[in-house]
Symmetry: C2
Subunit: 201 residues, 2 copies
DNA sequence: CACTTTTTCTGAACAACGTTCAATTACGCC
DNA sequence: GGCGTAATTGAACGTTGTTCAGAAAAAGTG
């Protein structure tokens, strides 16, 4: 058995990515292996490597979808005019999304990239897009401050909330905190917001 | 060749841990393997498993030393009376320690613990000890507030700074921030400190 | 000293992993 | 119909963590 006509190149690639997503959702990225994945879709392990450079590339393809999903959820939460409250709503959306897609989110940020392989730039751009939505909220609260500062503040907030949720997701937050993740996140929003409102110049 | 008298049980266990530490420092925890480690100390792979349950246990033993080292550095930085400035000094100490012991710190927090294996309680206690040192600084700034709140604030600050440094260490901070880690950490200290000082009740 | 028990250590073995590649087969094209 | 090209296979390589029967030395006992 060799060349088959079961799927076109595009179909097969989509099939690989969606099967990989299923496996990650079900058992976590650690349990994703070339053999398991190929068996799942009914192809030989080697086939995967004709369509993707390596497993890393497949996980990265899954991650695109995960990031897009979050961006979508954010934009749906954004109604009415922006303010500090919007940030709290974003926090809820974020926490909800991360919790409902725990394993996918872990795949995004816990996946151990081999040293030397660079992060794709669209990856950075996608995250930048998310942060930009937060920036607008900071601007709305203190329109007198330059946008640069709002951007810095939103990056800092995003990094803080994300990092804390990262800890939570890996089961290590209890090492440090004894509140639950939602309380923590909203505390962080309050703290960052307050500090921003009270800025001097 | 079987039973040997080269080392006592304790000596051998210490040897294993220190060799593991060396390997982690040199090449990172990813490159630590049972075969490499056993070859390094001149014993067979199986020997490791007579003294430790698994590789996880060995890495955990290394991690104890890493945590102790940080606690020591903290206590050395603590001179004069406590205040918000002390928090900044702690931040510097922390960043310095994490940077000088990059691979060891990664081993502490990036190591993928098999699901089901619990975090030892003394682990939690050790981290609690570190956080307690921060709490004292918050108390010094607002002695009118109950210690509970100071503790909460210090946990939040620790989690934030630690998480951000975690991102940095895994090379993912650039995904989000464009400042360097030191600036970020001190910003975080300022923000958390300010919010704490401005608390109402 | 000799004999037995206990403890320690070895190294081959197992099942899994990511990845490669010669061989094979079928599709598209002339 | 024949041919080149593209897709697929599955065995193979070198890893990995972990186990365990067997061997041997230390420690205990007479």
């Amino acid at each position: 058995m060799a060349r088959r006509a079961d799927h076109t190149k595009e179909e097969l690639e989509a099939l690989i990515v969606s099967a990989a997503r299923q496996l990650i959702v079900a058992d976590g990225v650690d349990k994703l292996s070339a053999r398991r994945l190929s068996k799942e879709i009914g192809y030989a392990p080697g086939t995967l490597y004709h369509h993707f450079d390596d497993l890393d590339a497949i996980v990265t393809a899954v991650n695109v979808g995960t990031l897009n999903g979050l961006a979508l959820a954010f934009s749906q939460a954004q109604e009415g005019e922006l303010s500090g409250d919007t940030l709290h709503r974003y926090a809820d959306v974020f926490l909800d999304y991360v919790q409902r897609n725990k394993n996918l989110w872990n795949a995004l940020f816990e996946f151990r990239r081999a040293p030397g392989t660079e992060v794709p730039e669209w990856y950075v751009a996608k995250i930048d897009g998310l942060i930009h939505m937060l920036t607008a909220c900071f601007v709305a609260e203190r329109s007198d401050l330059p946008e640069e500062q709002a951007q810095e503040a939103s990056r800092l907030l995003f990094a803080s909330v994300h990092s804390v949720s990262s800890l939570e997701n890996s089961g290590r937050l209890q090492l440090i905190m004894n509140q639950n993740i939602a309380e923590i996140a909203h505390n962080l929003v309050d703290i960052h917001l307050q500090a921003y409102k009270n800025r001097k110049n």
